[in-house]
Symmetry: C2
Subunit: 206 residues, 2 copies
């Protein structure tokens, strides 16, 4: 693409570095901003800069937070002896939306993935292991996505905390509520048969 | 969505105001920036701000340009007696990419669209009509998209310059090069039959 303006080209180049945004989409977004009042671009730029420069992570669970301790960790009504291990803030938000969980979280910041150059040292595993070793944790719930990387990460943590008096569980995999069996993939359907639960317990949260 | 950080929420709100970007995508983009070095966010913010605040339009053709007169208008080798009327800079870039056009452009900045609150006064039609009335223009090529709004705009301009000694043409509509007839829509195929051209002229630019 040949641009008639160097400024425009720079802006398009920067925007197209975002994941999933190609140069055509970037141009469309930038031209949109040009048609809006200058304030919108100012607010966009400022909000991104302010977030990036003052970003803070909860010192307990490593979730993104404006305060030293995030709202969940600071809430005395939440059970700190149960910790749900998740990849990032989006998973915390998804679980919080269910209103079914009253424990704490531990945000790893990613999954072990040698292909992407992410090793255990890049994640917040050490602080999780320390929490477990301090003896204050009764249950650790693994809620990473069930991919190769997720399973590897789960297993790595499991090995690190082996021998400590802590129960480890993983979220249930199975057919989505409302889904039809015939369209489910074999692995999921197979697991949901293997890990079937007493009918009475299925009545609890329906 | 409940955010654990007000700063994060602000950033997501601002990003999701861009067209075609919902709150989930916005969150994904913002989290991506948080994983990158601070410089990337700084460069992104600065390039958008600098573009928005110092944006300049060519005083002749109204295309985005860093200089008073854009490169095309300033080029003495281009024929200023032929003007191609387009909607925005993307159309200029698309036509320039073909290397088939050596005339000037006139960027309207949109199409007449009462539904979106865009009237003739919001576009650069007055300066186009003045150019035509000055007598320096031999041909006006309408290259707006063939939608209701595009046709309305073409017709409005056509009426404004009626009576002046200027030829008006419109870009050819027809089957795309390489396309198969059976998959073409009826309107396009119909037009390509109606506006058929001598076989010899089709050999020129093949």
């Amino acid at each position: 693409m040949d641009f008639s303006s160097k400024l425009l080209e720079n802006a398009v180049n920067e925007v197209s570095q975002l994941p999933g945004i190609g140069r055509r989409t970037a141009l469309r977004l930038v031209l949109h901003l040009l048609k809006q009042p200058t304030e919108q671009t100012q607010q966009l730029s400022e909000s991104l800069l302010r977030l990036r420069e003052t970003i803070n992570f909860c010192k307990n669970c490593h979730n993104i937070s404006d305060t030293q301790l995030c709202e969940i960790c600071a809430n005395p009504n939440r059970d700190e002896s149960i910790i749900c291990v998740v990849e990032d803030i989006r998973d915390v938000m998804a679980i919080e939306n269910t209103s079914q969980y009253r424990g704490h979280y531990h945000v790893l910041g990613g999954k072990i993935s040698p292909m992407d150059g992410v090793g255990p040292g890049d994640l917040t595993i050490t602080s999780l292991v320390e929490k477990v070793k301090s003896g204050s944790v009764k249950e650790l719930i693994f809620a990473l996505s069930s991919t190769m990387e997720g399973d590897t990460t789960n297993f790595y943590i499991y090995k690190q905390i082996e021998g400590n008096d802590v129960a480890t569980t993983t979220i249930a995999r199975g057919i989505s509520v409302g889904d039809e069996l015939e369209y489910a993939d074999e692995v999921t359907l197979g697991r949901s048969i293997l890990h079937r639960i007493p009918f009475e317990s299925s009545l609890k949260n329906s």
